[in-house]
Amino acid sequence: MPPTPPTGAPLRRGLTRARPARRDVLRLAGAAAGLALAAGCGIRGQKRPEVSAAEFWDGRRRTGRLRFANWPLYMDEDRTQLAQFTDATGVRVAYDEAIQDNPSWFGRIQPILANGGDIGCDLMVVTNGLELGKLLALNYLAPLDHARLPNFAEHGADLYKDTAYDPGNTYCVPYTSGLTGIAYNPEYVDREITSLDDLWDPAFKGRVGMMRDPQEIANFGLLRTGAEPEKSGEREWQAAARALRGQREAGIVRAYYEQDYIQPLTNGDVWLTMAWSGDIFQQNATEGTDLRFVVPEEGATIWTDNMIIPFTSRSPVDAVMLMDFLYDPEVAAGLTEYINYVTPVPEAKDRILAHAEDAEGDDRAFLTELAESPLVFPTEDEYARLHGYVPLEPGEDEGFTSLFLGITQA
């Protein structure tokens, strides 16, 4: 028999078998409490010091490289507009469809920006919602130098120039806008959908899709209860929440969706749903479906996705060049022909019509329809029926989101 070291067996047992004696547990708890207290000094405010445009742009030069973080389906596969930009300016662009939704994008970049780190992009696109509000309040964005934005000044629609969420476009230049309305599948719905009442109609029990995003669903609840989202307060929110809860408890809602409502709508799992205008257009164009999108008579939501520059951007000059380049009407027309959302450049309409003249067959019909579509170029009357998100003062947002998350996350 080989000699075994005397310590072998007990040692092995000691290592392989956990025997948490009460003493150890207490010791561990003590250590944990100590550490907790050590860490107990708190998480410092995540705010950065405010920087003026003059300070920020002082000494900045173009680098010839730009990293652009955008949403999926927000530019064609060939990245036509970026190729045009490179041809015109020589700046090479690394394009990344990194942003799937605002909250997780914000969650990803916030800790890095709080420490002044590079977030891997020089230009990004964020919706005018809660997250943009937080980015602004935390001073994470570079103030814009409007001397570098001549196209924007000349071709941008007035409506997109002095927005409520960013007066004077100090930080944001719109990339595109879109509407949140009702989409339905006429294969299953045998009447015309015109009103928010249809989303509450028990005839469609279990066949209605609603959005999970607190701001989106809040707006529909508010419009349903006759309130104006921009001017609403706590009392209106509670009423809206009651209406939405009633809709859920009556079994009318099948599920609360993010951007994943398109497939169920196409399949017939849901028959009508809250939807974004461009999604429906794109689905019809690419899949040959016949989905309908309507702006309900009570009104709908208009949102804007904004190009913004993080203050840690390595190439802010190149970023602002691209911002401005996308306001060239010809470029804007090309972009709109692919993404089918509302463009902030009204002159793009004539360019699209001109492209339609030159095109043939289906393409011609599609481009003509696009240029005439009120969903891509809303008229003033139609704009009047569109509402922004509920503007939230700092400190109000947690109560507001909790109220509406209570509906979608029951």
């Binding site: 070291p5 392989t16 860490a39 799992d269």
Partner: protein, 288 residues
């Protein structure tokens, strides 16, 4: 070999990396989280330690329903995994012959695809008029409004499907080591096949089941992908709530408090289970 008098340091040194790993990636963060769960504040001005036990009251009061639902879904998924996975493991271990490795590979093959993608393809397969439900409806077996998606059933099945290998593999590992002569001995002593299974194989395989239950119950209870993709209006799990509290609300203390409540609930459940099963005995069997 060290001399008989020397206590060997080597084993301690060997586990040192493990301890350091645990300390940095488990003990430290968890203490940090514990501290966060007792803070108040907001993301703009920062959070301060105030010993706010109220966060726990909020976590329990506001989300007990989702916590209970998550534990229930986790339990159902675990039971389903045992029901489906045990026979699979048994068959591969005892009847797999020379092809055991192939069968195990087949079992694991679907899991080379990303989890989110798998959940999404379920949406296609189980669509109301899709490949499964469509024909059943056409045949009149199901009513026109019957659906699987957006229900608790879909969520539980999705969970069970996604975590099945974590049940099969540990059970297989234990069954594979069961000495066939023990079963033969039981048969020689006039045990029927059923008796031999129930009184010999099953007890011997319990450590595998125990390990499988741990590896399935814990992650399924805190999963959020399946509920988000396959669930409907009353199927939110606590993982979804934690995620939105962190990402949408930036309410880090609330999220941390919910996390600890969930952890406590899971630990209680597991200790109860271990006690009922007699861990000591389970560990003894596994050690052989």
């Amino acid at each position: 070999m060290p001399g008989p008098s020397g206590t060997s340091r080597a084993p301690y040194l060997l586990v040192l990396p493990g301890w350091i790993w645990l300390a940095i990636f488990f003990v430290l963060p968890i203490c940090g989280m514990l501290s966060v769960s007792l803070m108040t504040g907001n993301v703009i001005d920062g959070f301060g330690f105030t010993g706010a036990v109220g966060n726990y009251a909020e976590a329990l009061g506001g989300y007990w329903e989702q916590i209970l639902r998550s534990l229930l879904y986790g339990l159902c998924a675990t039971v389903l995994c045992i029901a489906v996975g045990y026979p699979m493991a048994y068959w591969i271990a005892f009847r797999g012959g020379a092809h055991k490795a192939t069968y195990l590979l087949l079992l694991l093959l679907p899991f080379f695809v990303a989890q989110v993608l798998r959940a999404i393809s379920w949406k296609f397969i189980l669509a109301d008029n899709g490949v499964v439900l469509g024909p059943l409806k056409a045949l009149g077996i199901l009513g026109p409004d019957a659906h699987v998606l957006s229900t608790a059933t879909a969520v539980v099945c999705g969970l069970a499907y996604n975590f099945l290998p974590f049940m099969v593999l540990p059970i297989y590992a234990v069954l594979e080591r069961v000495d066939h002569s023990v079963v033969e001995a039981a048969r020689d002593l006039f045990a029927s096949r059923t008796q031999a299974f129930l009184r010999v194989v099953l007890p011997l395989s319990l450590p595998g089941v125990f390990a499988g239950v741990l590896m399935v119950f814990v992650p399924t209870s805190s999963d959020y992908v399946n509920a988000a993709v396959l669930g409907g209006t009353h199927n939110t799990m606590i993982g979804n709530v934690i995620r939105t509290q962190y990402l949408v609300n930036n309410a880090y203390p609330t999220a941390a408090a919910i996390t600890f409540v969930l952890m406590a609930a899971l630990l209680l459940g597991i200790f109860g289970y271990a006690r009922a099963l007699g861990t000591e005995q389970v560990m003894e069997v596994q050690a052989r």
